[in-house]
Symmetry: C2
Subunit: 385 residues, 2 copies
């Protein structure tokens, strides 16, 4: 066993007294901070095997503060006007900062940054939060120039109408994405999980010309941030950046071949019906109470003589409703089965009358609204018997 | 192997054609049904190894229908006015009936009972639900005569003020109960988990003279049903029955010795402070953001010179607030630690000023309101150092 080294007899050199630097200070409105943190915090993981992943980075510059984080698929940054003395980059767990911010009693809050902790004062509230070395926080790179611009509400409308049809899990990656087509005078969003499809096309112009595959979960976060007013766009490599209001998002794009959906949209429809979309959606919802949730949630539709009969049968019994519809094409009876949830979700975006166009009992049914040609959905009937 | 008996050559005697019996029919307002089912359904287990436990019993009599179920600790029955043809007892899974009822489109609903299924019609909705043999449903016995009566709101007030202090799990049974003391001119509810206690006493008179131990979870269900107006009471064996509005509940009582709480309420208080209850509760809530949730959720209180300092320190930092208080008794400094949640819950029922009476750093602190002597809470400080 090595001998224990004797303690040095000389004391360490006395620290040089540094000139008192002006403290780095940040003051801003509590409400604006809480609102921005609510948006940023939900993207940053609450726990991770890599501790840095849970951090929020706080970048101070004259007149503003930037709060940034990432979930690897998505980087987010909020820039807020603030009264700042000094500058620098700091980090702490995003959840801790958000929790403290929600508890602040005052209209304003002041953060005074020391080397190891930050003092937070608001009204009578006085808290010290430990800081984490800023180099542990992920380094996020946001573009400084943008190539395109689109109305935020128009982009949101397209993505919202398509997003529901993306698959949730356990499917090929492209089925868990929303395809965004940005072309001159044409903006289109499409998603499909192979059993249904939803698409929304408008003449909104982004100034870009590109087809993108955005993970559906990143679309969900983008939808929470998009608002009226311009959204600036930049594409670089496998990343789309959207700047909307105080927020900037980098969305990692997916690679892969999206299904040739134009080819699968049927062209001929032996039977077509039109009916009030909300009356149909409500009837499907009621009848589906009896469908077996564990299985394919089956409801049966029969069209005959201007009437649409909706039935469902499960372990506990059978439900039935009938609606009058405006029928076109063949007068012959057509009977199909659907996943009730898929049918309800296809109907949900439609106000007023919906048109159901049946191409056959095993080929897709097209769901659209005569009054709004922007939206088109398809649902593949269940195989029966 | 025994030989298979030859099939009898003669056909069985033809069934005597019975005179067509009038169908058993029930018609009532959808809203009243949905409301009653929401109350009854939540008590009945959603799944059970004993299938009968998930059933709701439907008892039809001229002019009314009774819906009944149980979770073994608690039987519940709702009696609703209804238009009834015929009579009888039927059963089906409570969840199925509740789900169907919530989906009904019409103002009224008609049930037509067959031997194996019931047809449910409301507006355009037409459903058949399978029935379960009624003998599989639990047999519930409710008393027909009552011994006492109390104002429902007064009973609710007592139980609500005490219930939060009961233990949730993993404790002696008596700590998971609310003790209800019904005596002439005195109604009192008390609960304790050994670390805190809450009690509410009023001069409400029930006409009864008994001390009861009600499981806290049954108290929660009772509190959802109690309303203004008289609640009739009956005690028989180890069961309290409460009839309130359309509902009747049998609450199974617990046995066991409740702690001698009168003995543990301190009599001497070296230091006392008074302060606005909601200002204190909010400060404790804010400071506790920094407390370690996984541990004992510790906040520290220091009283000195008419000021109350509240601090908390956890893995992420330290929070501090200070309030001016009206201090009585010793001027000397007193420092105590509490579970922040226990302190917040003790304060919650108090409007206006609260009095904190400190008996010592390891003995219970009494929390009450000078303006409302009915309510008294105790919190035992955490052991520190």
């Amino acid at each position: 066993m090595p001998a224990v080294a004797p303690a040095p007899k000389t004391a360490p050199p006395a620290a040089v007294v540094a000139p008192a630097a002006a403290a780095t200070k940040l003051t801003l409105a509590t409400k604006a901070l809480v609102e921005a943190l609510a948006r940023v915090e939900r993207i940053i993981p609450k726990s991770s095997s890599h501790a840095g992943a849970t951090l929020i980075a706080i970048d101070l510059a004259p007149g503003s503060v930037e709060l940034g984080g990432t979930n690897l698929d998505l980087d987010v940054r909020a820039r807020l006007d603030a009264d700042v003395t000094g500058s620098g980059r700091y980090a702490m767990p995003a959840q801790v900062l958000a929790q403290v911010a929600r508890a602040l009693p005052g209209d304003d809050v002041t953060f005074e940054f020391g080397p190891e902790e930050v003092a937070v004062a608001s009204g009578s509230f006085d808290t010290k939060i430990r800081l984490v070395a800023a180099e542990n926080a992920p380094t996020l790179r946001f573009p400084t120039a943008f190539d395109g611009e689109i109305d935020g509400a128009a982009l949101a409308r397209a993505l919202e109408h398509a997003r529901y049809a993306a698959a949730v899990a356990d499917y090929q990656a492209v089925f868990r994405a929303v395809r965004l087509e940005l072309h001159p005078q044409r903006t289109r969003a499409i998603a499909t999980d192979g059993f249904r499809l939803a698409s929304h096309q408008s003449d909104a112009d982004s100034g870009l010309d590109a087809d993108l595959l955005i993970p559906a979960r990143s679309v969900d976060e983008l939808l929470k941030l998009l608002a009226d007013g311009p959204a600036k766009l930049a594409i670089s490599g496998a990343q789309l950046t959207v700047a909307t209001g105080p927020y900037t998002l980098n969305l990692k794009l997916m690679e892969g071949a999206f299904p040739d959906y134009e080819r699968v949209i049927p062209k001929a429809f032996p039977v077509e019906v039109a009916v009030d979309a909300s009356a149909l959606a409500q009837a499907v919802g009621r009848v589906a109470v009896m469908a077996d949730k564990a299985g394919n949630h089956r409801v049966d539709l029969v069209v005959m003589d201007g009437r649409l009969q909706i039935t469902s049968e499960g372990a506990f019994g059978r439900a039935e409703e009938e609606l009058e519809v405006e029928q076109q094409g063949s007068d012959s009876r057509i009977a199909l089965a659907y996943n009730a949830r898929f049918l309800s979700e296809a109907l949900a975006p439609i106000a007023g009358r919906v048109r159901l166009r049946f191409s056959g009992v095993t080929s897709p049914t097209v769901v659209d609204a005569p009054a709004d040609p922007a939206y088109l959905a398809m649902v593949v009937p269940l195989r029966t018997g």
